[in-house]
Symmetry: C2
Subunit: 206 residues, 2 copies
């Protein structure tokens, strides 16, 4: 008997556009373009981003309005709808629930585990990482429940999740991530990713 | 800062009708009415049920067709839609994925963790419990990810989940379950359940 499969997917770059980049583009605030490539320390980067939002007087509702104009990647909704009809699917993201909300509504409210912003009177006071390394820990938690976990993502912060899964793959990953992980299957369209999920052999124990 | 909430809900009796009871009613096979009240050993009960299906020549596709005529409880879809817009929600059920599928489609494909039937050439060969006591273990797994877990269910097989949660409640439970658990809040409509979820204080550690 084959074990039940559970699929975990990264969100930004896999199902939706990058949120901060699009926030920068749509607000015209170039300083928000800064990413972990320029500022390696994520905590420092987020503090910087929140300070920039404050400088420009941007409230949570302003940001929500901007994010509401973002759309999932082409084909993402259909891919996810079909996938959810056949498997348990959980999205694992390092974004914040308030940022994810407008996009999750457009994706049919899939389950997402992520972090949150502390918002008081429409002002973003702080950000709260629910637990460090939560993508990897989530995969391990689902494996402990005897699921065969399949995980796909595009970026460095997905590798721990992908490596912790029973079956892991890269999806729409940049060349450097693909080149540095030659043992991982890499896909660039939803059809191939779905075929890989369907074909993965889920025999054996956790 | 308050922690993020994650809600786990039982399915049959909470969001949907009881599957086996309705299968008995809709197929007219009275023997399928037998429940854990008559046969305490779940493994024995399931073996008996599968034997009854065989006796009557019922295949997986026949059962799926019957189950497709079942509908979620009144108000369940709206309750769940609204809840999923605001919280991570995972359904925890002791049913089988093939039985759940028609009802999950009507509920907008929420995430459900359950068991599965082994179906070969449209014949139900066997049933496979993914892991014993999976409702309790699932709650513990989500708590280990630093969620404040709220759980609600109606029956004896939900009590371990409800007791393992940070906040637990009974929903549409029979009187004996309510009477035997006087310390648990008990609700009989979705509005009250939702208010309890919103009001639960999620301070403090796991």
């Amino acid at each position: 008997m084959k074990r039940q499969k559970l699929v975990t997917l990264d969100v930004e770059g896999v199902l939706t556009p990058e949120v901060w980049v699009n926030l920068a583009i749509r607000t015209g605030i170039e300083a928000l373009m800064v990413t972990t490539r320029e500022v390696r320390d994520y905590d420092l980067l987020m503090k910087k981003r929140l300070a920039i939002l404050d400088e420009h007087g941007l409230k949570m509702s302003d940001i929500s309005a901007v994010l509401a104009t973002l759309e999932p990647l082409g084909g993402a909704r259909d891919f996810l709808d079909d996938l959810r009809a056949d498997y348990s699917v959980v999205l694992l993201s390092d974004t914040f629930s308030q940022f994810a909300a407008p996009l999750m509504a457009q994706l049919g409210q899939p389950s997402i585990l992520c972090h949150q912003l502390e918002v008081v009177d429409d002002h973003i006071d702080d950000f709260v990482i629910r637990i460090p390394d939560h993508k990897r820990r989530s995969v391990e938690a689902f494996r402990s429940l005897n699921y065969h976990v399949l995980s796909a993502g595009d970026a460095y912060n997905d590798l721990a999740m992908i490596r912790a899964a029973n079956s892991g793959a890269l999806f729409l990953a940049p060349d450097n991530v693909i080149d540095e992980n030659p043992d991982l299957p890499a896909f660039d369209n939803y059809g191939d990713l779905r075929a890989w999920i369907d074909d993965a052999v889920a025999d054996g124990g956790a």
